[in-house]
């Protein structure tokens, strides 16, 4: 049925195909049935719409920042406004987009299905998490509308506590609330993975997507509360002025940074680990092959989560931490880089002896591999003590974390969205247009952020509103790239919307993938499975799939 031999897409006959009569989307009608739903799939869709909204709000700020940096002079907006732009960009992108991006959308949608369960362990808590997300989001938007906040997303004391008169407390409360949203998501995942697996679904039969979410969930549960209490202390310090973080009253401003980064470094892994899970699924599916070294990839996720708690002070090497402590943290940082390297090579070797096709998700995944390699390696630059002195707080670090977060995480997110779009909506996206979008994103991304590495080594500091004129050429390149990147992100929004009505009917398993989610109808039933499946095959077992398909054919025939 496939059009050419270079694709594995296997769609049902479009003349007769219909979406399933009963599915989670048309199970109940009306807005209220969505707002009070307990169904993890509907909550995932709610989350998807919400984070898309916030992504474009945050993206608009990014556009304004790049536009301002087109010229060396501070000419487009005033300094305060610029500072508010990058603060809002950071807060929105980190807390409202990156942290919940894959877990709350794809994770929510797929986790129970992949485990063979009917729902997450606590559906109401899941819905509560979405409402907290919006509450936190609205508080942050409120802070923005009332006049903004200009602390940067890091809320560094004593700047945030004593030297700014913007809406710091409001924004901090927004982030505090979002923290609980994230905690509830993580908590739900952990309990679901431990308690809701279908009969036969052993730990080492779980897809790597689940493993990476498990690792990320541990970080969410254990890390986030420390951020919460830190922000409470910041708010109290600001409101009452008691001086835990105020050096003039005997407090230590570095204590704030220790507590802040204790969460915010693991938060980086909260953001990237689920993306890695997506990449494992995509690469395996489109090379028709089990992920190379399944156990190594699974354990490297857990290793990243574990080591992730031991390295936070590498954000503070020049901040006045003890030199001995800096040594320890630098060494541990080098150790945490290893599991990521392991994953990269395992993914590359998954391709070996496969039967590879190049659908859109695979193209995004290839983009991820390249960009994440660069992002990860530049992390080693910053983990090396002496190199960090010159590179930190410059555009090098901006480029580095955008390579990991945007080049890595956002690529993975888009790969995942395209990959599971047929499952979520029952319809295919337009293939050639989406390939164009993938290529555009890749080119735009590199054009935007590669020049920033050079700018960083030249010494251009981050969060600068104006800069010396000799940096202009590279900044112009970067802004040009951002324009291309913006187009690359707008395209999916348009054609995915279009596909909701006009896309080809996808059928149960357009990719002929092995995951449990592909063995049920698309879009799935509200209860996912008519009967809870009994799992008697390993993850990524393509021979099992071929066997099953053959059996179906004979039964039907």
């Amino acid at each position: 049925m496939s059009a050419t031999s270079s694709t594995i897409v296997n769609l049902p006959d479009q003349r007769t195909a219909r979406l399933p009569k009963r599915n989670y989307i048309n199970n109940e009608d009306g807005l209220l049935s969505w707002l009070f739903t307990g169904d993890h799939k509907r909550i995932a869709i709610l989350y998807l719409i919400s984070i898309t909204f916030f992504f474009f709000v945050g993206g608009a700020f990014a556009g304004l920042i790049r536009l301002e940096l087109l010229t060396p002079q501070p000419d487009l907006v005033a300094s305060d406004t610029y500072n508010k732009f990058f603060s809002m960009h950071g807060i929105i992108m980190v807390f409202l987009f990156l942290v919940p991006s894959v877990p709350a959308t794809l994770g929510n949608f797929l986790m129970p299905i992949m485990l063979g369960a009917r729902d997450l362990a606590f559906p109401k808590v899941n819905l509560l998490s979405w409402y907290l997300y919006w509450l936190g989001g609205l508080v942050i938007l409120g802070a923005m509308v009332m006049g903004g906040v200009d602390t940067g997303w890091t809320f560094t004391t004593p700047l945030s506590t004593h030297y700014l008169n913007t809406h710091v407390v409001t924004a901090a409360m927004g982030v505090f609330i979002l923290g609980f949203s994230s905690i509830f998501t993580g908590l739900n995942f952990i309990v679901t993975i431990h308690r809701m697996r279908a009969p036969g679904m052993t730990w080492f039969r779980m897809p790597l997507f689940v493993w990476s979410h498990y690792a990320a969930s541990i970080l969410m549960v254990l890390g986030t509360p420390v951020l919460a209490i830190t922000l409470v202390l910041v708010a109290l310090e600001r409101l009452v002025g008691i001086g835990v973080f105020d050096p003039t009253k005997g407090g230590d401003p570095l204590l704030f940074q220790h507590l802040f980064w204790f969460y915010s470094h693991p938060a980086v892994y909260i953001m990237i680990l689920p993306g890695m899970g997506v990449i494992s699924e995509v690469i395996s599916t489109f090379s028709r092959k089990r992920v190379f070294g399944y156990t190594a990839v699974a354990f490297s996720s857990v290793a990243i989560a574990l080591f992730g708690f031991f390295v936070w002070a590498h954000h503070m090497f020049i901040m006045g931490v003890s030199n001995y402590s800096a040594l320890v943290f630098s060494l541990l940082t080098m150790l945490v880089a290893v599991p990521s390297a392991i994953k990269i090579f395992n993914w590359a070797f998954t391709l070996q002896k496969g039967s590879i096709t190049f659908e859109t998700p695979m193209m995004y995944a290839f983009g991820f591999l390249g960009l994440f390699t660069i992002g990860g390696m530049t992390g080693v630059f910053l983990g090396a003590l002496g190199m960090d002195i010159h590179l930190t707080e410059t555009y090098f670090i901006v480029a580095h974390f955008h390579f990991v977060m945007v080049g890595g995480m956002l690529m993975a997110f888009l790969a995942g969205i395209h990959f599971w779009w047929p499952k979520m909506t029952g319809r295919m996206y337009p293939e050639s247009l989406s390939k164009l979008a993938a290529v555009t994103t890749f080119i735009g991304f590199n054009l935007t952020f590669l020049p920033q590495f050079i700018l960083g080594y030249l010494g251009m500091p981050r969060r600068y509103h104006a800069y010396p004129p000799e940096f202009q050429v590279l900044n112009v390149l970067s802004t040009a790239g951002a324009t291309v990147l913006g187009v690359g992100y707008m395209l999916p929004l348009l054609y995915l919307g279009w596909s909701l009505k006009y896309g080809a009917i996808a059928g149960n398993n357009p990719w002929q993938a092995t995951g449990l989610e592909w063995q049920i109808q698309s879009p799935p039933l509200t209860e996912n499975f008519v009967e809870i499946p009994v799992i008697d095959y390993e993850a990524y077992d393509y021979e099992w799939l071929a066997h099953k398909t053959a059996n179906e054919v004979t039964t039907v025939g």
Partner: protein, 254 residues
């Protein structure tokens, strides 16, 4: 629906689950759980994970305490000596008693004794309220002595204790300022603890009402059990707060 699920692998369920527990279908059973045991364990596990976040939540403040206690030990001694040991000890005993009744309430729910359950829950609540009352009294005293951190904080009593009839050594003015950090941590930690107590008391009222209506008398005890975990956790926090805040260097100075 349950029957349909069980039917997919009847032999294992029959042997492993039904042999151990009598299978009673309760109205509280949620459709996505296969068995009530699974649901119950999921709830307990989820509650424990939530308590982990609470450990880390208080953990941040405990670390701040550890750091500043080492830096400004003299100020912490003076600040601690401002607190009343009788009140602190009484409150510890009150809280332990409240926790004890909570544990008994869980027992009463498990053995399905509705009357006892309601009585124990009410006793738990009463002791909880007593704790908050004592705490409020202590806070009030600090308010009157201008020991609440902030603009009105007054160090006179620490710089010149003899004028206030105290027998402690006077603190140097720079160290006396650091007593404010002690009191901030005191209020932040006990305040967060008291906030957890208040939330707990609210939940207790609701649970008592539900228990009175007999919702927990048929074997469905997860809310009582999980609330018990929460209440005991709040106890544990206090078990650490009491020695750390009240009992710094209480022995007579020589």
């Amino acid at each position: 629906m349950d029957n349909a699920i069980v039917a997919t692998h009847p032999h294992t369920h029959e042997t492993a689950v039904h042999a151990e527990h009598e299978h009673v279908s309760l109205p509280q059973h949620r459709h996505h759980f296969e068995t009530e045991d699974q649901q119950r364990e999921a709830a307990t596990f989820g509650m424990w994970l939530f308590l982990l976040t609470e450990i880390m939540f208080f953990g941040g403040m405990f670390f701040a305490y550890l750091l500043y206690r080492n830096w400004y030990y003299d100020a912490f001694v003076v600040g601690s000596n401002q607190l009343s040991i009788p009140l602190g000890t009484a409150n510890t005993a009150i809280l332990i008693t409240s926790g004890f009744f909570m544990a008994l309430a869980v027992w009463a729910a498990e053995v399905k004794k509705r009357g006892l359950l309601v009585i124990f829950l009410i006793l738990t609540t009463l002791f909880g309220i007593a704790f908050i009352g004592v705490k409020a009294d202590e806070y009030h005293e600090k308010w009157e002595k201008h020991h609440i951190p902030g603009a009105s904080f007054d160090v006179a009593e620490f710089v010149n204790p003899h004028a206030y009839g105290l027998k402690e050594q006077p603190l140097a003015p720079d160290m006396a300022q650091k007593v404010q950090i002690y009191f901030f941590l005191y209020f932040a930690m006990t305040g967060m603890h008291a906030l957890h107590m208040l939330i707990g008391l609210g939940l207790l009222g609701w649970l008592t009402w539900r228990a009175y209506r007999g919702e927990f008398s048929a074997g469905y005890v997860a809310p009582i059990e999980n609330f018990g975990l929460y209440w005991h956790f709040v106890d544990i926090v206090w078990l650490f707060l009491f020695p750390l805040l009240y009992l710094i260097n209480r022995h007579p100075l020589h």
